[in-house]
Amino acid sequence: MTASEYRVLPGPEGYLPPAAACMGVTLPEPGEALVEGKIVPEEDALQRIAEKLLAARNPVFFPGPLVLWAWREGVAEKAKAVLELVEAAGARVIPMPDYRPKYPMINPAVEINPNHPNLTIWHNRIDVGVFVGVHCHYANVALKIIRGGTDCYTIALCGEMGHEDAMITLRSVDTAKLRRLTEAVKALAQAGLPRAAGEHGRR
């Protein structure tokens, strides 16, 4: 397999951007992560995520069903770890509670839908969006649409193998890894990374 030349960058990329996997971007192995289409050590990606979250004007987490419902043991604790990360990053939460289409449209102020995620990004002027607890297929569907039509910087914290279509993705994200990321955010914030002025007065 050859290394991909394709970069996974914020859009708007175009009318119908390709799936990054079809452009040669491959998913990370354990201990690795993807940053803008390139494999990097996981620790590097943790730092990049912390930087992106703290530098963002309006970072928003999109928790999906896998962390919104306590559907098996350990999920409630993981959801708590997500909230701790949200608070450390000074971010907001707009959930993706389910994947069903809603017509005539969703209320973009309160939820995001995988079939038209760009509406929520545009309405709330989100510059950094974080997927967590979203089933992989629906995350990938949404991430391509976001890259195609918005300039949002996407981060996917995946419990399985990760997402090529996000600008940064971590794989095998469990409670412990979420807490490591939270620590990285807190450490960077304490180090005094200059922050963008929040649109919603979060700082």
Binding site: A21, T26, D98, Y99, H116
Partner: protein
């Protein structure tokens, strides 16, 4: 239930001591399913597949499967296994020839719904006047359904590929249906030595909760949600969502490459890759070509053989690289349209190197002498 021990796929495939059995391809299907920890199999008869699902019924009676029944038609069977797979169980079925076409709508539906169904296609002609004889024409129709496609050369391949198909299909980043194809009669009704793992071993169970889509078991999150056909509307965002969805199926096929490498040990097997003339083929045509290549090499001809094991994903880079150094590529096939030749031409840089054929169809056999004659012409 039969008493079996769950082992890792790696142990079952590569480490467990194997016993040789003198069995038919249909019996190889049975032996694979015996070790596959399948929850549900649904049958419907079509020659030359009928015996394989009959034999799967026999091992249901012995306690190796949780459920087994005969569907109402090929379309019904493929819809029923889809429902079961959405519910989170491991399923298996088989068909072939006209049965494949009667069920056809379900195959892209399986892929679109990310269902890791394994289906064996024991191929035969599709024609009027009716033929029940070997032919791989149906594989041409299947190439763009979104399914993964493996092509077995013999009963040994069929046994191995079925078992490995479950493991590849169920990877969370793949999660697509797999068609394991074997040439009807030539494989299904021919008895040969097949090395099989002990019958008291089986694959780990399917974990539907790692799937990239919610399990429709009415308990897992999001609770009581259909896997909705989300877009029946005529607007741009609906079209864009559909497009992204279809792209994701192609992406999942790409992700399957590394697992095909790991478990099938490559998308192709190559003998004498340095040769000036290469025979590129799949299925039982590999066996016929191997004989022809052996005779040709004894006669001093510079000829090699490429066995294509995986058609989806297609060995794009492998074939392109091999073609660069070859002067001529011969693609013999068991069908009239030459679908493998088209696939090869789509990836090589110089299509004038590719010679389609020889081809036989309608049940004709391919004597190795016919392939040898083509080799001689191309080496002249």
């Amino acid at each position: 239930m039969a008493i079996q021990r769950v082992v890792t796929p790696e142990h079952l495939f590569f480490e467990a001591e194997r016993e040789k059995q003198f069995i038919t391809g249909s019996e190889a299907v049975r032996e694979a399913i015996r070790r596959a920890n399948v929850d549900l199999a649904i049958s419907y008869p079509i020659t030359p597949q009928s015996e394989s699902m009959h034999l799967v019924g026999d091992i249901y009676a012995e306690g190796y499967l949780k459920e087994y029944f005969r569907g109402e038609s090929e379309f019904a069977v493929m819809a029923e296994v889809a429902g079961a797979s959405m519910g989170g169980v491991r399923v298996f079925t088989a068909t072939g020839g006209p049965g494949t076409l009667r069920a056809f709508e379900m195959f892209p539906t399986w892929a679109g719904a990310r269902l890791p169904i394994v289906c064996t296609f024991l191929t035969r002609g599709v024609n009027s006047p009716l033929t029940i004889q070997p032919d791989t024409i149906e594989m041409a129709f299947m190439l763009d359904t979104g399914m993964l496609m493996f092509h077995a050369e013999n009963a040994q391949d069929l046994y191995d590929m079925i078992l490995k198909a479950f493991v590849i299909a169920e990877q969370p980043d793949v999660h697509l249906p797999v068609g394991v194809f074997a040439d009807g009669f030539f494989v299904t009704h021919t008895r040969e030595q097949v090395a099989v793992a002990p019958a008291d071993l089986k694959l780990p169970p399917y974990d539907p909760y790692a799937a990239p889509v919610p399990v429709m078991d009415m308990e897992s999150a999001p609770v009581r949600q259909m896997r909705d056909p989300f877009v029946m509307k005529s607007n741009f965002i609906s079209y864009a969502a559909h497009a992204s969805w279809q792209q994701e199926i192609l992406a999942a096929q790409e992700r399957a490459r590394k697992y095909v490498h790991r478990y099938l040990e490559g998308l192709v097997d190559v003998e004498h890759p340095e040769a000036a003339v290469l025979v590129v083929t799949s299925g039982t045509m590999v066996s016929q070509s191997r004989e022809a290549v052996a005779v040709a090499r004894q006669q001093g001809l510079d000829i090699g053989l490429v066995k294509v094991k995986s058609l989806r994903p297609f060995p794009r880079e492998e074939i392109k690289t091999l073609a660069r150094q070859a002067r001529t590529i011969i693609v013999p096939e068991y069908n009239r349209v030459g679908w493998l030749c088209r696939e090869v031409k789509a990836v090589v840089e110089d299509t004038t190197k590719v010679i389609g054929g020889p081809r036989v169809f309608g049940g004709m056999t391919m004597p190795p002498e016919v392939v040898l004659a083509q080799i001689r012409r191309c080496c002249a």
